[in-house]
Amino acid sequence: GESVGLHLPTLSVQEGDNSIINCAYSNSASDYFIWYKQESGKGPQFIIDIRSNMDKRQGQRVTVLLNKTVKHLSLQIAATQPGDSAVYFCAENSDSNYQLIWGAGTKLIIKP
């Protein structure tokens, strides 16, 4: 069935380094993708989104890349800070449905 999944469950990076979190999706009809950050005990917080007519979008310290050919989505965080420690989820939907389909999540650990 349709699914969105993540390659790595845990990622440790040194403070100040860049991090890349990857996500694979299987529904070729998906045309809207979102990255959410979830800190312990809190609800998901929007980071950045991208539509399928784009392959790259930049925010503040974050960049999302979309490769529709291989159905791959990545989140790049530049110059990681302790506050970036969280679980990161990719999610997708399409114009034909309302629900977000969520990936399993990657836990990002920032080492001092």
Partner: protein, 113 residues
């Protein structure tokens, strides 16, 4: 900055009891959602609601679940007869339309004993 709010933050109930989880979506949003997250697992879609009716629901959202928008501000999720496996964080979300960012509330932790 407008935000989604949820009450209570933590609900403890006995198996078989009914619970109502409450949410106040962002005021100008038109689409409302409930998701749940079992501890340590991914977020799962339950239901979406638009124009006073359910627009989409998942297999999880069976007859034990219902949603309601009783007034112009609240959006509720009712579980009629809770089961142990209903223990999870329940997140409410809202969006301006169905193709844009969904804003999430802080969640209600439901514990069924």
């Amino acid at each position: 900055e407008p935000e989604v709010t949820q009450t209570p933050s933590h609900q403890v109930t006995q198996m078989g009891q009914e619970v109502i989880l409450r949410c106040v979506p962002i005021s100008n949003h038109l689409y409302f959602y409930w998701y749940r997250q079992i501890l340590g697992q991914k977020v799962e879609f339950l239901v979406s609601f638009y124009n006073n009716e359910i627009s989409e629901k998942s297999e999880i959202f069976d007859d034990q679940f219902s949603v309601e928008r009783p007034d112009g501000s609240n959006f509720t999720l009712k579980i009629r007869s809770t089961k142990l496996e209903d223990s999870a964080m329940y997140f409410c979300a809202s969006s301006a339309d169905n193709y844009n960012e969904q804003f999430f509330g802080p969640g209600t932790r439901l514990t069924v004993l």
